[in-house]
C-alpha cells in the first residue's frame, strides 16, 4: 500500500432508501476486508456505521433501498448529483424489493387497513428501483447482497475495471461447488435455473431449492421451468408466490407469476 494521504483516498458514501439495512450490514460484515477497505477508501458518509458525516461530492455511492415516497424520489436526485459513480446494492435498490409487492395491489387500501389516519401516509403507488429515477453505473443483485461480490465491485471500481459479476444461472455455482441438483435428484422446486448466480448456491448446498434472491438470469426461460415445476406438483397459486418475493417486479419474474396467476 502506498503512503496515500487520507484526503487522496476515494470517498465512499452509503445511502439508504426503503430497505431493511441488510445490504449495508453486509458491508460492515466484511470482517477481514474491512480494515483494508477503510484504509483504501475514505468512508465519508455511512450513517449505519458512523454519525460523522463528511461532505460530498463522493467518488463512489452505494445505494440501498427502493424509492417509495415523494421525498425519496427527490433525495435520490441529490445522491446522484453528489456521486461520481453510483452503484445500487441489493434487490430493493435494483428491483424494488419485497415492498414492490404493493405493485400488485392497491396501496391506499393497505394504508386504510393498517393506519388509523391513512391521510398522514405519503407513499407512492409503486416501489421502484433506483434506475427508474436516475442513471445507475452498476446494479449489484441479491437479498441480501453477497459479501464477496460487494468487495469485488468495490475493488473493480478502485482499479477502474469491469467487476466480475456473471449473469449466468445459479446452476453454474451449484456445479462448481459440487452440490447435487435438488430439482433433479430430490424433486425439490428450485428457481436456480432462472436465477442469477452470486450467492455461491447457498440454499442448494443445504438441500433447499433456490428462492430467487438474486433475480432473473441474463436469459431466463421461466415458461420452461414452470412446466417442470408443475410436473413436480407445484400448484399455480404456489407458482405465483414463488416468483413474488424479493424480485417480484423484475420483468421475467413478473411475467412468470402473472402467467401462473392467469391459470390459477
Amino acid at each position: 500500500m502506498t503512503s496515500t494521504d487520507r484526503n487522496d483516498r476515494p470517498r465512499l458514501a452509503v445511502w439508504k432508501f426503503a430497505s431493511c439495512d441488510g445490504c449495508q450490514l453486509t458491508l460492515l460484515d466484511c470482517e477481514d476486508e474491512l480494515l483494508p477497505l477503510a484504509s483504501t477508501l475514505d468512508i465519508a458518509y455511512f450513517l449505519e456505521a458512523s454519525s460523522a458525516v463528511g461532505p460530498g461530492p463522493y467518488d463512489l455511492s452505494l445505494v440501498e433501498g427502493s424509492i417509495t415516497t415523494p421525498q425519496d424520489a427527490e433525495h435520490i436526485r441529490h445522491v446522484r448529483r453528489v456521486s461520481r459513480r453510483l452503484v445500487t446494492i441489493g434487490a430493493c435498490a435494483t428491483a424494488g424489493g419485497i415492498q414492490a409487492l404493493r405493485d400488485f395491489a392497491d396501496v391506499r387500501e393497505f394504508a386504510s387497513v393498517v393506519y388509523a389516519r391513512p391521510e398522514y401516509i405519503a407513499t407512492l403507488e409503486r416501489s421502484t428501483p433506483i434506475s427508474a429515477h436516475v442513471p445507475v453505473d452498476f446494479e449489484l443483485r441479491g437479498c441480501p447482497i453477497d459479501k464477496r461480490q460487494l468487495i469485488e465491485v468495490i475493488t473493480a471500481f478502485l482499479a477502474g475495471r469491469r467487476p466480475v459479476v456473471p449473469g449466468h444461472s445459479v446452476c453454474v455455482e451449484c456445479k462448481i461447488r459440487g452440490n447435487i441438483c435438488v430439482l433433479v435428484a430430490h424433486g425439490t422446486p428450485c428457481l436456480g435455473p432462472v436465477t442469477q448466480a452470486g450467492c455461491g448456491a447457498l440454499c442448494p448446498a443445504f438441500n433447499r431449492g433456490c428462492y430467487g434472491c438474486f433475480g432473473p438470469t441474463e436469459t431466463p426461460n421461466t415458461p420452461a421451468l414452470n412446466t417442470k415445476l408443475r410436473r413436480l406438483g407445484v400448484s399455480d397459486p404456489d407458482l405465483v408466490r414463488v416468483y413474488r418475493t424479493f424480485n417480484a417486479t423484475e420483468e421475467p419474474f413478473r411475467q412468470a407469476s402473472e402467467e401462473a396467476e392467469g391459470d390459477a
Binding site: 500500500m1 476486508e33 483494508p36 477497505l37 483504501t40 468487495i151 469485488e152 468495490i154 475493488t155 473493480a156 478502485l158 482499479a159 475495471r161 466480475v164 456473471p166 449473469g167 449466468h168 444461472s169 446452476c171 453454474v172 456445479k175 462448481i176 459440487g178 447435487i180 441438483c181 430439482l183 433433479v184 435428484a185 430430490h186 424433486g187 428450485c190 436456480g192 435455473p193 432462472v194 438441500n207 438470469t217 441474463e218 436469459t219 426461460n221 415458461p223 420452461a224 421451468l225 412446466t227 417442470k228
Partner: protein, 357 residues
C-alpha cells in the same frame, strides 16, 4: 498376471492408500451416488441402485450386497482432470508469480467405460494439441484409474451407440467386474503401475468361469441400454440441419441453465477471470468452468454471437455430435447420458437427434 480375482476390495483400497493415493469412490450423499474420499469398501454404496430418466434421478434399492449396481453418477472424472476453478497466474507488486495448484495423487475407483472414453477425449483436447496444458498433464499422471464395468446401465445410457462401452477396454490402470454368487471381483490390469498394486494384494488367478461370468455381465449390460443414437453420417446431416424447425421446439424447453455442459464429462469450456485485491497490489488470473449456454461465453466486442437460446442449443448439440470430429477426430459424446438425466426439463439428446434427422 493379467486377470485375477479379489475376494474383497479392502486390501486394494488399503494398498492404494499406503501407496500415497487418496482413494475416491462412489458413496451415497444427499440421496445420490457421489464421488468422495473413501477409506474402505464399507464406504461404498452396498445394495444401492438408481433410476435415471430425463430430468430425474432417484436412488433405489439394488441387488443385495452389490457395490456397483447403479449407472453413471452425477460426478464424472472431470472434476479431477479439469478442476472447476484454478488460479493460473498471480502478479504481486508488478512481478509475476508462478502458481502451482499441485496435482493430487488420487485413485478414482468406479470410473465407467464412458468416463474413460471421456478422459481420452479430454486428453486429446488438453494434451494432444500443439499446445499441451502442462497442469492438465500433471493432474492426469497423478490420477490412478480403477474402472468398474457396468452391470446395470441407466435409463439414459447409450454408450453402445457411441462405441464407448459398457466394457472398459483401454485407458485404465485396473478394471474391475463385480461378480456375485459368490461375491468377488475380476480385475484386469491395464498399466504397469496397476499391475504393481495388484501384485501386492491377496488375489488368485482368474478361472475360466470367472472370465465367462464377467463377459456375461458386460454382454447383458450392452443389451440393456436405456437409449440409442443412430450416428451414421451424423457429421454431415447434423450440421446440414441448421434450419430444422426442431431447434425452435427444443429452445422452448431449454433453460440455458448450463447443467448439461457442467455434468458432461467432455465439455471443457472455461472462462478466464482477472481480479485485483483492495490494495491494487495483487492481481490474479483464474480459470473456471463456463458453458456455451451462458451469454458472456459468446460475447465479442460487446455483442453476443449466440444471443438466442436456439443458437446456443444448436451450437452445443452440433459441436458435441458432429463438428467435434472436424476439430478433434472423434465424437464429443461418449453416451453417458448425464446431460439427459441432469437437464432439469428433461431434454433428451437422443430424442432431439432422432427428430432433427
Amino acid at each position: 498376471m493379467d486377470v485375477v480375482v479379489l475376494e474383497s476390495l479392502d486390501p486394494l483400497i488399503e494398498e492404494l492408500r499406503s501407496a500415497g493415493y487418496t482413494v475416491v469412490g462412489p458413496t451415497v450423499q444427499d440421496r445420490a451416488v457421489r464421488m468422495a474420499e473413501i477409506s474402505s469398501a464399507a464406504d461404498l454404496p452396498a445394495g444401492v441402485g438408481d433410476v435415471q430418466d430425463p430430468g430425474s434421478y432417484r436412488l433405489t434399492s439394488g441387488a443385495d450386497g452389490m457395490l456397483f449396481g447403479y449407472a453413471a453418477s452425477p460426478d464424472s472424472a472431470k472434476r479431477f482432470t479439469q478442476p472447476p476453478r484454478q488460479t493460473l497466474v498471480r502478479m504481486r507488486d508488478g512481478a509475476f508469480e508462478e502458481v502451482d495448484e499441485g496435482a493430487p495423487r488420487v485413485a478414482l475407483l468406479g470410473v465407467r467405460a464412458c468416463d474413460l472414453a471421456a478422459i481420452a477425449v479430454q486428453d486429446r483436447v488438453f494434451a494432444g494439441s500443439r499446445h499441451p496444458d502442462p497442469a492438465y498433464r500433471r493432474r492426469r499422471e497423478a490420477l490412478f484409474l480403477i474402472a468398474v464395468n457396468c452391470a446395470v446401465p441407466g435409463g439414459t445410457c447409450f454408450c453402445v451407440s457411441m462405441g464407448t462401452g459398457p466394457k472398459a477396454t483401454a485407458g485404465f490402470d485396473l478394471a474391475v467386474t463385480e461378480l456375485d454368487a459368490p461375491h468377488r471381483f475380476l480385475v484386469e490390469t491395464g498399466s504397469e503401475r496397476g499391475g504393481e498394486i495388484v501384485a501386492r494384494v491377496p488375489h488368485r488367478r482368474a478361472a475360466s468361469e470367472d472370465v465367462h461370468a464377467a463377459d456375461e455381465v458386460s454382454r447383458m449390460a450392452a443389451v440393456r441400454m436405456g437409449r440409442q443414437v443412430d450416428t451414421d453420417g451424423i457429421q454431415h446431416w447434423l450440421p446440414a440441419a441448421h434450419d430444422s424447425p426442431r431447434w425452435t421446439d427444443v429452445a422452448s424447453r431449454c433453460l440455458s441453465c448450463t447443467n448439461c455442459t457442467m455434468v458432461c464429462p467432455t465439455c471443457f469450456c472455461s472462462t478466464v477471470e482477472d481480479v485485483t485485491d483492495l490494495t491494487g497490489q495483487v492481481t490474479e488470473r483464474s480459470e473456471r468452468w463456463d458453458s456455451c449456454f451462458t451469454l458472456d461465453f459468446s460475447e465479442v466486442s460487446g455483442t453476443h454471437a449466440r444471443g438466442s437460446g436456439l443458437a446456443r442449443y444448436r451450437q452445443w448439440l452440433t459441436h458435441k455430435f458432429a463438428t467435434w470430429y472436424d476439430q478433434f477426430g472423434t465424437s464429443g459424446c461418449v453416451g453417458c447420458g448425464r446431460c439427459i438425466t441432469w437437464c432439469p426439463t428433461g431434454i433428451d439428446v437422443t430424442e432431439e437427434l432422432a427428430c432433427i434427422r
